[in-house]
């Protein structure tokens, strides 16, 4: 009998934990969806603009071999200095899209650190976050 109630207690705890995790995940899920939509809108905008101004659907440019953060910074720099062209809109679209999983990992890290206060998983998520950051900084 006591074993039964222990199991039920553990299951209930798990459900509670699952639900708190799920609330965060639902929020993050919608943020990701918005990120994808924003990215798609930027790409559409850039493509249409290019078509109108250069009569071609294919926006000609290359992303030279720079890492994600370099790409992010140079795109933002162009945005802030007002050098807005179709190419920039498409670049920003790609930047936004690639940011979404990064955000998901960061959110999980914050969740484990401050909500669940789970040291083990804060560390595991930190490992993933670090490896991911490293790859985004690759030369």
């Amino acid at each position: 009998m006591i074993e039964d109630s222990k199991h039920i207690h553990a299951a209930n705890e798990n459900v509670a934990e699952q639900e708190s995790m799920n609330s965060m995940d639902v929020l993050v899920g919608y943020i990701l969806l918005i990120g994808v939509l924003v990215s798609v809108l930027l790409i559409i905008a850039g493509t249409v603009w290019n078509w109108l101004s250069a009569q071609s659907l294919t926006t000609q440019f290359t992303i030279s071999g720079e890492n994600y953060f370099g790409f992010l910074i140079s795109s933002l720099h162009q945005l802030l200095t007002g050098a807005i062209r179709p190419q920039l809109l498409i670049s920003l679209g790609i930047v936004t899209l690639m940011f979404t999983p990064y955000l998901r990992v960061a959110a999980s890290m914050v969740y484990f650190a401050f909500v669940a206060r789970n040291l083990k998983y804060t560390l595991f998520t930190l490992v993933v976050f670090s490896i991911l950051t490293y790859s985004l900084f690759l030369r």
Partner: protein
């Protein structure tokens, strides 16, 4: 390499991918190469599109399905390393090797789909000590069956190793490898199907980003390609989910079988240097 053609092919890939649940990348890349695109550029652009489909569908997945964040993050440590390694290998590899690899994977998928049978739902109740230490158990309230389902993930060490392999495949070929990942979750670790699907979705997105970042740094991401591919895949996936309920599973499966074998043989031939 016209925008229109790439766009259309991407819609098809996204559509079939969403309907079959096998992802579009596996069809997209061979199809792009048949259009005359270089395989490495196709792989790079495809892996970016995997981010789009994964992030885009994340909100749908959390609705009444439940992600096990711990399983996801634990396995991701291994998958992500695999993906970066895989991308690096692809960048260093020759074209024919990649075609051969693709051909093999496509034909293997064809075989897997052909012999697919309903596996009995065997939810794990045993748990080894490592998996226990990793806190890989969970419970969720299943809306459909109106009961609380408890589960314990098992064989975490084996799962981790296999997920490194899945990451490797994803980074190498620019695909999500979702089918493989769900298989590992289901059969190896004993997770209930709904948990497998959602947790895989989380892993696929993060893994795709890791792979994509390597291709980006190598200058393999062509924005002229990205635009039609992303727009096409997203449109196709959206349409696919809408149509999903109306077309029978059998039809989807049959279409996929035909496509897989045609593309698989074509890729193999290219791998051997034959161009049809």
């Amino acid at each position: 390499m016209s925008f229109e053609w790439v766009f259309l092919i991407s819609i098809a890939a996204g559509f079939v991918g969403a309907m079959s649940g096998m992802g579009g990348g596996i069809i997209l890349i061979p199809a792009l190469t048949l259009l005359g695109l270089d395989i490495k550029h196709s792989i790079a652009v495809s892996i970016v599109s995997v981010i789009a489909t994964s992030s885009g569908s994340a909100s749908a997945y959390v609705r009444d399905k439940i992600t096990n964040l711990k399983v996801g993050m634990f396995l991701e440590m291994f998958t992500i390393v695999g993906a970066i390694a895989g991308a690096a290998i692809t960048l260093a590899s020759g074209q024919r090797f990649l075609y051969l690899l693709f051909g093999i994977v496509l034909l293997a998928s064809w075989v897997a789909l052909l012999i697919q049978r309903r596996m009995p739902e065997k939810i794990g109740t045993q748990q080894d000590r490592f998996s226990k230490w990793l806190e890989l158990s969970g419970s969720y309230y299943d809306q459909a069956s109106r009961e609380t389902i408890s589960y314990k993930a098992n064989r975490a060490h084996f799962g981790a190793l296999l997920m490194f392999g899945a990451g490797l495949v994803a980074g190498l070929l620019g695909i999500g490898a979702g089918a493989l990942k769900v298989l590992i979750h289901d059969l190896v670790m004993g997770l209930p199907p709904k948990v497998s699907t959602t947790t895989s979705n989380l892993i696929i997105g993060v893994t795709a980003l890791a792979g994509a970042s390597v291709y980006l740094a190598a200058g393999m991401v062509d924005p002229g390609l990205i635009a039609p591919v992303i727009l096409g895949v997203v449109t196709g996936a959206f349409l696919g989910t809408k149509v999903l309920v109306r077309i029978s599973n059998q039809t989807v499966r049959n279409v996929f079988l035909v496509v897989l074998i045609v593309l698989g043989l074509e890729m193999l031939l290219r791998g051997f240097g034959v161009r049809l």
